[in-house]
């Protein structure tokens, strides 16, 4: 990874992005806004499970409002991340914090896919608000997972040498 990062940092693409510091800051700002949309969507879905908000709607309706933000947010995150990684390959690709973040994102994606499938199979089972103990535990876990991903994202800048 170290050798690959070295090579990548000397490509034309990387040098181009390295020179556009203002553009990288702009991409990071968009990256943060996508994190915001994902975080708020996770929050609204979880608040319904926890019986705090959205109780006047079915879970299917809440999911219909917010799940699209999860996926489009993820797409924006990926699109903005690619130039950021190309510009500073070592910062990410030789950094254990980055890989920890990727692993947690994979877990988040898996949970989201599972949630969608479960909802399609039996939407009514999710309507109970607050939900059962396991479901509420899942809601808390997904919130903590989002926080952990965001924190690890910020820490990438501090743990690379």
């Amino acid at each position: 990874m170290d050798a690959f990062s070295q090579w990548l940092s000397h490509t034309d693409a990387s040098l181009f992005f390295q020179e556009q510091l203002g553009f990288l800051a702009f991409l990071q700002a968009i990256h943060i806004m996508a994190v915001a949309m994902i975080g708020s969507s996770v929050l609204m879905i979880d608040l319904r499970i926890l019986g705090v908000a959205g109780r006047s709607q079915t879970m299917a309706q809440v999911a219909h409002r917010f799940v699209p933000w999860l996926w489009s947010g993820l797409a924006v995150l990926l699109l903005t991340a690619i130039p950021l990684i190309i510009a500073e390959p070592r910062r990410d690709l030789t950094n254990w914090t980055f890989y920890l973040k990727m692993a947690m994102i994979a877990a988040g994606v898996a949970i989201t896919v599972g949630f969608g499938r479960s909802l399609r199979r039996d939407a009514a089972a999710w309507d109970k608000s607050p939900g059962g103990t396991l479901t509420r535990a899942l809601a808390v876990i997904t919130l903590l997972l989002w926080v952990a991903i965001a924190v690890s994202g910020r820490w990438i800048a501090y743990t690379w040498h």
Partner: protein, 167 residues
């Protein structure tokens, strides 16, 4: 201005501020929490503003969406202020002199004024437009301006980090 700089200097030399500045973990951790808080502020505001612009969930009452989300906006904002203040004191003079940082506060002030005008004036007629997408232009404008001001604030916040010249 001299008094301000002197005050800020003494603020950042307090043991507490020094600790945040010099500890390996304190600043990054507080910064992460600041980002978490502000993303909740921004995300919830986007949902409310999109409804206000008549662009999303127009089958739900604006009041219902606002009542559901704005407490979280305010709560998260409170935390963002607390964590932001802790970050600020660690490099008070640098932040105070940073252009992006100053602009961020100007835009947040614009957002506050926009919100006040909306809440005190425009929202009075909400019963007439609460449901559906026939939102009056003043409310749509409030929503659109809010999105612009908060997007600018997020961007300027990121720019502050880049232009701080600390590292």
């Amino acid at each position: 201005m001299d008094f301000a700089i002197t005050f800020l200097e003494s603020l950042q030399e307090t043991p507490f501020a020094q600790y945040i500045r010099e500890s390996e973990w304190a600043f990054p951790t507080i910064e992460s929490l600041h980002v978490i808080a502000l993303t909740i502020v921004f995300g919830t505001i986007v949902v409310v503003d999109l409804r206000l612009c008549g662009l999303a969930s127009t089958n739900r009452r604006f009041s219902e969406i606002a009542d559901e989300l704005l407490p979280w906006t305010w709560g998260a904002f409170g935390f963002a202020v607390i964590f932001g203040s802790l970050l600020f004191i660690s490099h008070a003079v640098i932040y105070f002199n940073n252009t992006a940082f100053r602009l961020k506060f100007i835009f947040m002030l614009f957002a506050a004024v926009n919100m006040l005008i909306f809440e005190l004036v425009t929202r009075r007629t909400v019963a007439q437009w609460d449901l559906g997408d026939k939102v009056p232009w003043a409310a749509r404008l409030a929503g659109a301006l809010s999105l612009v001001f908060w997007t600018a604030s997020v961007y300027l916040g990121r720019q502050t980090g880049w232009t701080m010249d600390v590292f």
